[in-house]
Amino acid sequence: MTTPTAPTETPAPQAPAADPRLLVRSGGLTGYLDDLRRRLAGGELGSAPVVIGLILIAVIFQSVTGHFLQADNLTNITKYIAGPGLIAVGVVFVLLLGEIDLSLGSVAGVCAAIASVLAVRQGVSEWLAVAAALAAAAAMGALHGLFFARIGVPALVVTLAGMLAWSGLQEYVLGDLGTINNRHDGLIATLDTHFLGDGDIAYAWALAILAPALYLLAQLRTARRRRQAGLTARPTTDIALRAGALAVLALPLAYALNQDRGLPLPLVVLVGVVAGTDFVLRRTAWGRQVFAVGGGIEAARRAGINVARVRISVYMTSATLAGLGGLFIASQQGSADKQLGGGNVLMSAIAAAVIGGTSLFGGRGKTWSALLGILVIQSITTGLDMVHAAQAIQYMITGAVLLAAVVLDSVSRRTRAGAART
């Protein structure tokens, strides 16, 4: 049953040999492809399905309409995705905890309403109004978090109550008129309409060149540090390939945007927020705690993590992001009104996070999935608009895409459990 043991002569720890069962990756491109194939077979799909989906959507609509990939259309898509995309980043945070937040649409609406009322009706400086509105959004998130984490009310119910209550507050704040137009050329109006450097082509090019270059440098630095420490590092060819792929994506996009009006501010803000939150989640202790709570509450608690504080901070973060998204939606539509954040805004944001590859089961996901997912949803919407499809068809197709994404998530979860390496 057990090994015969002689306690007095316990074998000295042997030199650490590599586990013979560990598959060694061969170098170069073949090694990279092998590794990719193995990861896919093991259920680690990453963002592969959604990227393939995006390419398919682009190809289909381009061939049907003939002008889907034109500069002005691409520019419009990047502007439309900012508001819902920021809300979707907030959704990713709560999904990482394995929870849900149904109030984010209403929070976006209230935030836009507060900013507009302060700026337009009360004559407060717009910067101050925006700051106050975002602080209010954070406070709403803190309230949800308190009820959920400290009192133990299920998050679904707390945020459902929040959804109703905050949309009531939104109407109350807006008052009888119900619609407040943005101040002409004010801060909120500019969020959507501004192009960096007023359309100077240098900005788009700079971003398209700097992003892959910075990625390359950061990765090379990490690889060098890991090699110096005697750890396995990502091969240089691999890093070069990734940076190259990023450049192949970014440069044509920059070219297309420059054909139109240049680099839109909403795109910069969304990408900046996504990259920033991704960095925070991966590289800080707080980010690690968020993943830990999403992966196992008991394990996190025993590791000394203050689970309640992590939960409250996550709800605050997601509400603040939703509030920012609300400001961008207000900027987009030219006014803050009673409908802002209602309808299917929240559902699109949740769908975007899931389509992008963030798991509904908690502990797995990236904020980049919000960007990818909202791109898919907006591309479908824009494309169907271009072929004059009815709204009914749009909903059905988006629904089908969402279902496909969730099925993929569930199946890959099962595959991953099955492919557990022993």
């Binding site: 090994t3 306690p7 007095t8 316990t10 560990l22 830990a292 590791a303 557990a420 022993t422």
Partner: protein, 261 residues
């Protein structure tokens, strides 16, 4: 081969409402000793371990640490002294990789950011000294086998460099080879001079690695035996409280049947 007493419990009692879970229990753990704690279900093993881990403060009795009396009222108290507990449910985060799990709540930082390189280096060092083989320290714990998860959980307890480690049924859910791996690891802990408290129902495991067996029965001490020179029957009768019990009757019957055959 065992060193000085590290942890001593004297006349420890614990009540839960009307239930007297522990009555005047004594327990001594030495450095470099594997102490098996055995007893039937409900004998008080878990309660005793939880008093040591600081989960349940004792009602009466004293606990001394290197000869000094201490009060353990919170899990943090025990951890601060150097008592690490590996519970049966392991408490690992499935979605995090081995390195992240080992350092969860104790991350290393460099300029305010997580220092993955330093953590991975330390993790490899720790796993190597314990001769633990994990295919890749960057695989999520969900992808590991039961035995690997168990050794990761034990290694995690060692990151804080404790002097006493409590293992709650570490081999309960494991196969033959994985059990052997965990028992090897227990022996390595002893070689490193740690005191190990091993809770187990498996007599074969107990006899394989333990130096001393402490038996609990109905919340009281029912004998402390050195493993060498004690038969399994003696331990079992101490656990069940009699030489005439279901286990001995079954064995007698089997022997009779064998004889008859």
């Amino acid at each position: 081969m065992t060193g000085a007493p590290v942890l001593q419990l004297r006349a420890v009692s614990k009540r839960f409402g009307a239930v007297q879970a522990l009555t005047d229990v004594d327990l001594t753990v030495h450095a470099g000793e594997v102490l098996a704690l055995v007893g039937d279900n409900g004998a008080g093993k878990s309660t005793l371990v939880k008093t040591i881990a600081g989960v349940h403060p004792v009602d009466e009795g004293t606990i001394t640490w290197h000869g000094d009396p201490v009060r353990l009222t919170r899990p943090q108290d025990a951890q601060a002294l150097g008592i690490a507990t590996v519970y049966q449910d392991l408490a690992l985060c499935d979605n995090l990789d081995v390195v992240a799990n080992l350092f969860l709540g104790r991350e290393k930082h460099l300029r305010g950011l997580l220092d993955e390189v330093a953590m991975e280096q330390k993790a490899r060092e720790l796993l190597d000294t314990l001769a633990i083989r994990i295919p890749d320290v960057r695989t999520p714990v969900a992808a590991l086998s039961g035995g690997q998860r168990q050794v990761v959980a034990i290694a995690r307890a060692l990151v804080g460099e404790p002097s006493v480690v409590i293992l709650d049924e570490p081999t309960a859910a494991l196969g033959v080879e994985q059990t052997a791996q965990v028992l090897d690891l227990v022996e390595r802990l002893r070689t490193r001079g740690l005191g190990v408290i091993l809770i187990s129902h498996n007599m074969a495991d107990v006899r394989a690695v333990a130096d001393t067996v402490a038996v609990l029965r109905l919340g009281r001490n029912n004998g402390v035996f050195p493993v060498a020179g004690t038969t399994q029957e003696q331990i079992i009768s101490a656990i069940t409280g009699a030489t005439d019990n279901a286990v001995t009757r079954r064995q007698a019957r089997l022997t009779q049947e064998e004889d008859a055959a």
